[in-house]
Symmetry: C2
DNA sequence: TTGTGATAGTTTGACATCAAACGAATCGCC
DNA sequence: GGCGATTCGTTTGATGTCAAACTATCACAA
């Protein structure tokens, strides 16, 4: 409670904005999730499929930095996708430390079907904001996210 | 890519805002996390301690709705906190289905020490925004979060 | 050539998380 | 009072998540 009052108005406004910000993010994520899971894949798995679809085959390291997750995590998620037959691992002949992850035909079909649905769900989710508000939100979030100094965007959260 | 262009400008703005919004939330969360974990508790455990500190002893159900997590999850988190001696379960004599979770003295000491630090870390995190911007952000997030229609705030994401 | 250091991926152990199934207790209503 | 419906918490099984330890491979230098 000492802190509650410290910084007076600014402090109170900040904590209020923080709570609403985090709640909104969780809330939007939660409402979007069913659009993904009803296809039988998790949100993270969808992220992998989408990255492979839009960027092309890549190794675990790149996948991890796209999704901002650790490499150990990538192993697990790719395992699960491979077991479902949606991606396949291909050993790299040049550098045998590397494994390149590819979409299978089934994986490609799935992501092609899912992506448009997900995009339109997002548009619908944000339809409560005007164009001006969308722009403002993006600008403020960019500032909040970039924040160098500690754990900026660059290193992707020290995931590694 | 079909979708990329659909809805033209509005669609592009929306997807851009969406990505920045989600990234910013993840980023802020990730930068705040070390302030919590260095005390030897996880973010969720901190949430439980904070709720118990500010609201008082409560049962699993209320804890779950405060934190927006499922009741099965509450069981696990309270288990871990109890094992660390930070909370204790007390059987409710009136309604023997219920278990009331209380802070132990150690738990109370810990949350009293952590909370101010966390609050000031949040203030620092948001110091890149002006007061007017904080207010705007809070307003937009409230609209985004409230979103009735599907999975509003009321049910806490169907966690149950 | 060898060996030292960096890099890629996997494994391990701990925690979080959900949905669904389950057992115990309570409530509603006749 | 008694029985079906509901509520509470736990358990189970699957997934995600991290950090740290480990294995294999590569790069480069002495």
């Amino acid at each position: 409670m000492a802190i509650r009052n410290r910084g007076s108005s600014r402090g109170r406004l900040t904590l209020d904005a923080f709570v609403k910000f985090m709640r909104a993010a969780d809330s939007v994520r939660a409402r979007l999730e069913p659009h993904i899971t009803r296809h039988g894949v998790t949100t993270t798995q969808f992220g992998v499929l989408e990255a492979l679809h839009h960027v092309g085959p890549m190794n675990h390291r790149n996948l991890g930095s796209k999704l901002l997750v650790s490499k150990g995590n990538v192993t697990v998620v790719v395992d699960n996708l491979e077991r479902r037959g949606l991606v396949k691992r291909v050993a790299d002949a040049q550098d045998r430390r590397q494994t390149i992850v590819h979409l299978t035909p089934a994986g490609r079909r799935l992501i092609r079907r899912m992506f448009p649905q997900q995009a339109s769900a997002i548009v619908k989710e944000f339809s409560v904001l005007t164009v001006a508000e969308l722009t403002t939100l993006a600008r403020l979030c960019r500032r909040l996210g970039r924040q160098e100094g500690r754990g900026g965007r660059g290193r992707g959260t020290s995931r590694e």
